[in-house]
Amino acid sequence: MTVLRLESLNPGMVLSRDVCDRKGRVLLPAGAELTEKHLRIFQTWGVVEADITGDGGDDQDPAPFADDIDQAALAEAGAAVERLFIHCDPELPVIKELKHACLLRKVSDAS
């Protein structure tokens, strides 16, 4: 059982748990093999992650930044974000995600 976010899913992976939409309706049952079309449908219905078979690591870290991001601005904003989150446990995936969002915002505000 490995939880991967939508961007990390690939055709051929096999679901180990039902994938539901935001209202709880089952879109694709456990055991199904993912195809390109399924991934498009997931996107449409607001699915953000899926549980797949196999034992790779979970997607604990936020999605990587785009390649064209300003590296200098990123480093500068990074220090400010660290200060802001000094009272939060940096190992928690939710905190990683929030720091990431905060960083993105600072960089896009600066540019």
């Binding site: 939880v3 939508l6 997607d59 999605a63 802001l84 000094i86 446990d89 969002a101």
Partner: protein, 290 residues
Amino acid sequence: MPPDSSPPTLESLLHGVGAVPSLPLFHERLDEAINHPRSSITDISKIISEDQGLTARILKLANSPFYGYFSKIDTISQAVTIIGVQQVRDLALAVSVMGLFKGIPEDLITMELFWKHSIGCGLTARALATTLREANLERFFVGGILHDIGRLVMFITIPELCREMIETCRNEGRLLYEVERERLGFDHGAVGGMLLRNWKIPFRISEPAEFHHYCQRACQYPRETAILHVADLIAHALEFGNSGELLVPSLDTAAWNGLALSHNQLPMIIKQVDIQFADTIAVLQGDAGE
């Protein structure tokens, strides 16, 4: 407040100075009408419509992306029918509380920044609740609007002490609500909770506000409290306005785990809040200060 060596008590904050505003009488009438078995939508709409400023803001809000209805809502009775009585009542509360507090020293906080943080938190709480498929979403929005209201009471009644505590936080990199507890024995949540109870605001709204930094103490509405706690954290992380707190509060992991949200859902929630933020600010703060 005269310079005093002993820290003020919770009661003295709310009753000592008399500068703490009271809720407009109209809310009591509104509650009475809503709770009365024989009152109709027309009765309820009539009470709200008497306040034109409030009416205008509620209608603007109902027609903004905050709701995303396709047809135009142009009367309060339509709003009540479509959005629901409780919901309109909660919105009315959120809107009217924002105009109540005046005369807070500008070096402590500006009302604009304070309400930005509160609105950001309210929208986030509402978006979290939507994702969690909760019902009656407006209580989450109003919860966010009110969660730091205790701090406004403190800024009015003990400005010197607040200035000192904020200074301590700035110098030592600490969290304001922890310094409050150390210096006073209670935090702004407790002050807010007491104010809201004095105002006879329902417990489903006052309890989450009271314990948003103390999730484990919420006994009747732990889920609402946890949602508010997480929303506050996100509002800080996204740096919506300012409520006096300089840093992101620490996360109550039990509260977070209890919600069974995935961190992968956060980007979508943040996106949703961003879409609504500017419009909601424009509606609620558009002509603030009059």
